[in-house]
């Protein structure tokens, strides 16, 4: 009986020794969170109605249209894209616009932007409600393009902290 007691005590002390050989430390990492950047599209880039021919149509950020190949059939809806950008007042931002790959005989080429009067990076955020205007060049290849309404070409607008 006493041998059993001794054995039990040995186990208890062995467990105590085990506890002493391990340690946990609860710590914390820190971070400062600032309000981020939000972009909301308020108008889509529109090249209007074009004839099926070879050529380029350029819609500038100020709304001017250059159509050297006279592709425009109806230009009433031609307009640059506009976005509302909210960020932190006074911080520098970078604007990058990347067109998707050409598809269906339509190529979205050189993209331009105007951010509250600035057209080169970095631009300065005015806080909430800055307007970003995006223009671009559309190239039509008549051998691959097809007749049809509302054909879309994608592009990505990125606004990041400088």
């Amino acid at each position: 009986m006493k041998r059993a007691t001794c054995f039990a005590l040995s186990i208890v002390f062995a467990l105590m020794a085990g506890n002493a050989s391990a340690v946990d430390l609860a710590s914390t990492a820190t971070v400062t969170i600032v309000e981020g950047i939000t972009i909301t599209e308020t108008a889509a880039l529109n090249f209007g109605t074009l004839v099926l021919n070879n050529g380029d149509v350029v819609v500038a950020t100020n709304g001017n249209v250059t159509d050297a190949s006279s592709l425009t059939s109806d230009g009433t809806s031609q307009q640059p894209a506009t976005f509302d950008v909210d960020s932190i007042s006074g911080v520098d931002l970078d604007v990058n616009i990347t067109p998707d790959a050409a598809a269906n005989g339509l190529t979205l080429g050189t993209m331009t932007f105007d951010f509250e009067g600035d057209s080169a990076n970095p631009v300065t955020s005015g806080g909430a409600g800055d307007v970003l205007t995006v223009g671009g060049t559309l190239t039509v290849d008549r051998t691959q393009a097809s007749v049809g309404a509302s054909q879309t070409m994608g592009f990505t607008v990125s606004v990041t902290f400088n």
Binding site: A20, V23, I33
Partner: protein
């Protein structure tokens, strides 16, 4: 039988004596002692944060930032960094000299943020003697620590935030 009982008592007495001696030795070298021995000796494991893990200033957007163990940026693919003032943590472990330890680190979810994917200068946890997690001749081991911090913009709050994590060290 009294005889066998007597023999058992004789065996138990040295055992208690040894345990008391061990406990006294532990107390005599506990941190905070006024007269520490000339050469540091740590019988019990202890962890100290020499420098905290800091992710700098990040935008309140969805995504994550991952900091390496050497103040290096592993990724900011979501462009969250607003001020690149991030820094890895420096951790000290004290214990028995020339002894291998196992180190594991657990993250958490807190306030719209998740800390995970820890990296240490000894390797990614859990780490052990194979990765060099061995206390030196003075009973000390120092390593650096980085991690990933993910942000959910819907639930994260602007301002200063603390995200808990737990470091566990055990003798191998």
């Amino acid at each position: 039988m009294p005889a066998s009982g007597s023999r058992s008592t004789m065996r138990l007495t040295p055992f208690w004596a040894v345990m008391v001696a061990v406990l006294c030795a532990s107390v005599s070298t506990a941190p905070g002692q006024e007269d520490p021995p000339p050469i540091a000796r740590y019988d019990e494991l202890a962890i100290y944060i020499v420098s905290p893990l800091h992710f700098g200033a990040l935008a309140k957007n969805d995504g994550y930032v991952e900091i390496g163990p050497n103040d290096d940026l592993i990724t900011d693919s979501n462009f969250l960094i607003y001020e690149a003032t991030y820094s890895s943590a420096i951790i000290d472990v004290h214990g028995l000299e020339n002894t291998a330890v196992s180190i594991s680190i657990a993250g958490s979810i807190s306030g719209g943020m998740v800390i995970s994917n820890f990296h240490t200068s000894l390797g990614d946890p859990p780490i052990g003697s194979a990765e060099g997690a061995v206390l030196d001749a003075a009973g000390e081991l120092r390593f650096n620590l980085g991690a990933r911090l993910a942000i959910d913009k819907e639930t994260a709050s602007a301002g200063g935030n603390s995200i808990p994590y737990t470091i566990s060290v055990i003798y191998e």
